[in-house]
Symmetry: D2
Subunit: 345 residues, 4 copies
């Protein structure tokens, strides 16, 4: 298989490069960087290691431009580009390669909602129309048969995986109050004062609470597609982690729904999923999934209240790892190929 990565200098591009450099089914990596075409990958990213040199022999270990990438005819294109730039940038590949877009451009089919979140119309509405929403454990069937896959955001992935089965089964009601904690890499590799080491270490804060964060819209439309009566309030926080995400949701159970019922629903949906670890009443830690593509889920019932806890590595299951998982599913590979099951110590 030949895989092109668009935008290999950002954090999600760097993780894609790492995962594919050791993926057993990928023979050639086409590393696209418009601004650095011609430069050695290893100079730009000294951590990447020798494996990438072998898989990029076709470009002599160098980054390439789009023209070169198109000529190499990749089987799959993984776009790790900024929101509102990504979908259009992929134009040369639609219809020729499978496109997996890590940006938000193809995630929200309702134009009004897209406009609300991104203050502009969706950039490629005709592509958006047919894109599968690549939340792998929920939309496997759609992913298998789609040539364009919109990779979900990290906050939506972490928040939705515990909530959607319960929404679909109709066992919860009223307001979902979610507090999510994100590692700093979620902000991307952007040189801003707010992302400096000195600003973020020994510091934590909430931001854009309730219904004001862009990802609120993405999360809400998914929940609504299963149960439109549920309300959502979503408050993200920054915590001094390099990588990692933790979501805590509180919601009321419908009358008569038992703790055992919740256990059974999770078992039904997830017990055979390689990357979901069900912990029951034990609470997950972000460290348990650091570097892996897992989502660990724990829950507790107290009276009529249900507390849900889920963790992911925001750069892996929350971005690049899930993109590889989507690639694996779409191409009929082993779902876990090239992805780690264990969390780094």
């Amino acid at each position: 298989m030949k895989a092109a990565i668009l935008g290999i200098s950002g954090y999600t591009g760097m993780v894609l490069l790492r995962l594919l450099s050791e993926h057993p089914d990928v023979d050639e990596i086409i590393p696209v960087s418009s601004s650095k075409a011609g430069d050695k990958i290893l100079s730009a990213d000294p951590g990447i290691g020798k494996a990438v040199m072998e898989k990029t022999a076709a470009s002599d270990g160098c980054m390439v431009d789009m023209a070169h990438a198109v000529k190499r005819k990749p089987d799959v294109v993984l776009a790790a580009l900024p929101h509102l730039a990504s979908a259009a940038f992929c134009d040369p590949f639609y219809g020729k390669s499978v496109v997996i877009d890590l940006s938000a451009d193809l995630r929200i089919k309702d134009h009004g909602l897209f406009m609300k979140a991104y203050k502009t119309a969706p950039p490629r509405p005709e592509i958006l129309e047919k894109a599968a929403y690549g939340l792998c454990e929920i939309y496997e069937k759609e992913i298998k048969s789609s040539d364009v896959i919109a990779n979900p955001g990290c906050y939506p992935t972490c928040t939705l995986l515990p909530v959607l089965p319960l929404a679909e089964k109709g066992v919860i009601q009223g307001k979902i109050i979610t507090n999510a904690l994100s590692g700093i890499s979620g902000a991307g590799k952007k040189a801003t004062i707010g992302n400096l080491y000195v600003e973020r270490t020994e510091n934590t804060c909430a931001y854009l609470p309730g219904q004001t964060h862009r990802h609120f819209t993405e999360i809400k439309k998914e929940i609504s597609s299963f149960d439109s009566s549920l309300e959502l309030y979503f408050t993200p926080h920054l915590v001094p982690l390099k990588r990692g995400m933790h979501a805590a949701s509180a919601v009321e159970l419908k009358s008569g729904v038992s703790a055992e019922k919740i256990d059974a629903i999770f078992a039904e949906y997830y017990s055979d999923k390689p990357f979901i670890m069900l912990k029951g009443s034990a609470l997950p830690e972000t460290r348990d999934v650091w570097g892996s593509n897992r989502c660990d889920i724990g829950w507790q019932v107290q009276g009529n209240m249900l507390f849900l806890f889920s963790v992911i590595d925001n750069l892996v299951k929350g971005a690049s790892g899930q993109a590889v998982q989507n690639m694996n599913i779409r191409f009929g590979l082993k779902e876990s190929a090239g992805l780690k099951m264990y969390g780094e110590l």
Copy 2:
């Protein structure tokens, strides 16, 4: 003034020592450590600095035992000792010195609730009966006239300061959903695997959610004393901070309560308080109060939902700093004497 500190080798004892070593009204510090009496403070705690040597000249810069402390007749005793040991340990001082207890022993007057949280009866019920609850901004009057002050816990301080004025004014209703994030020093200076650097850096998790944490009881009884109809669900988290605490609470406003009304309530209660910084709709960061005795509070109204955010340094306003503030209030000193107003960068 002569001040005795009981238990100077734990984190709260160490911070008390630092604050009093530069407090303008404290001339003599009596540094009590049962296990290390006779040892030099500066050897046990190399960070403490030369100021403590001057103020402990009476014991030649050494830690002392209880017998010595009693003989020095301190004006105030600050007890930084473990729960269920502290109140009894202070026996020699009741009636002679003002006692400020940083443990939970004297915080919950209802024996049933105390039993629920600590699995045993309160150790000194007769002292408990007359102890003031030292949440300075709320109970100033009681603190001024009491010789025993129960210094509140860090989670209660951070959670209650934004909630109590609203509870008293009767403008909120139903369930308060609180998610609190604590720095690791909140766990104390105990050699456990769970507190190791390698376990806690690059890691975050929730623990004892809903109504299971000990401090839930302390927080709930305070809220109930103003409005017993309010429910509380409190979920603490560990985040990789050395020091710092962040509380986010979501609650419904009663019908007809405007955002302006909330602003007015906070202004009425707190605008003249030296350590409360009202931020309106801006959200506070823990870094802003690191090392200070401040509590910064921000809030946002969305529809009928109110989101409250508050931050403290868990070792200062959440423990030792508030203890000094209690001392200042009780002895008629300047409320901010010896306490910092700024957060360390």
Copy 3:
């Protein structure tokens, strides 16, 4: 292949378990823990993931005791046990399995030196006598033909890899002044005050400088075996890293030795080694090798002074990864099997 891991609850045992759980040539893992035999691995170590469950099916996903391990007749035994306990603990396996000992017990053949470093005689002198020193890039030949391999320490691995080729070629002289920085996991998973998060974050210090650290002896004996005229002063430091090690050495070049000569020596020794990345005058960062089995080496000549810089992940190339590399070499597997080439972002 069947591999037994002795001591899977410490940090090096945990990393061994992770590496072997995804190693393509290991079919069965025998996870030994004397104190926890019978407990589920996944409960004790929630981060390990589902792959370990498949490879430990023989013990139903549980940890086992030594008797069980002996019965399973492992091809290789990886001992992640404390110094002075490890070599004796491996008694049942000598002569039956290949033993790779991660402790210091079999590293120093000179009894006097061993005694100096560890204050006691070596525990298994007859085994020690025939053990290969498993510094893979230097002793590949010995490793291939030995049934007992003493896996080097992290400080020796990081310090020696840049120094030994130069010592062997006789191009440096006089005093080597080494300053090494270690991540906190180097101290092991021990519940001590000194290893607490609050003690180690925002803190750095040197300890046991010059010729006082145990690993000084291990490093010095290796250097001396190539050039006994060289002196060594080695000062370790603790820095707030979870994982990672950085060594900086300053040494005089012999008269007439050019920078090009140094470049040539490194190229001769290391250009075909999969885990050595030669960076020339660029300086390596610990992040570049985080999670990988690499050692990146940079150097600069200024006048007659040579400055050497090397980085490893102390838990991988400095411990468990090198142990797997030794296993790979010894059993004729691909040297990089089951080991990562890239550093985590």
Copy 4:
């Protein structure tokens, strides 16, 4: 006293603001920011707290421009501005106010050396000529009588304090090999990729080793002024600290110099200095001085080698705190006024 701070939005300016906001002898702070004049300080720097509001009542809690600052006729001007901009920016104040410059502009009197380090001629040679080098413990006499004080860099302060007394007494010889570790705030509040949280946490590296760092020149000229025969090799490192600096130097003792002699020299120079803590053979930790203006020094003799260890808070004793100490000395205030003696836990 009236004190103007030039450049209050950088890290050193922010620390100056904090220190002066609680300094007992400073009544008015004139907070200069060319780009933000007219904005509220508290909005730009929410951590600063209410004390700054009282001391900036003259500008209504707002930042001011240079014209305003000149009109207020400050007694002292503390310039926290970039190298090569600072000295010229202070033009309106020379001869009217005492100027304490935290930049490098006035530190190196030898034009050739300045040119070597900064690639340009010194910007105000006539001011440079008469500026005192504000290393307080060494140049107290010059500081007392000078109206322009060049505040030393953090690396020079930390490296020089242990070395200069030994150089002056002539007890060391040959090469001084210094390895220094710096917290990330040393790089200033600049939005660069290299300073991002994700780049610097869990990462360490050396940079500009030997004789290539700018501060090498500043350190070398000071050492040479006491003993020009000493050589210096200085290798700085970045470690994941917000604040803190650690210097480790190795150097040969001259023949016949005993460990006791070294002890005696340090005692003679520093035992009466409020901010120097002599630790003998105990090794200092950066945490011990975090937030304080201290420099803690430890040392060990092994054979004819001397190992020196010193720690400071790079933003306090390494910048803003030493500037306040210089102000205190120059104006005849208590040397420790407004400066902390203890390290934050």
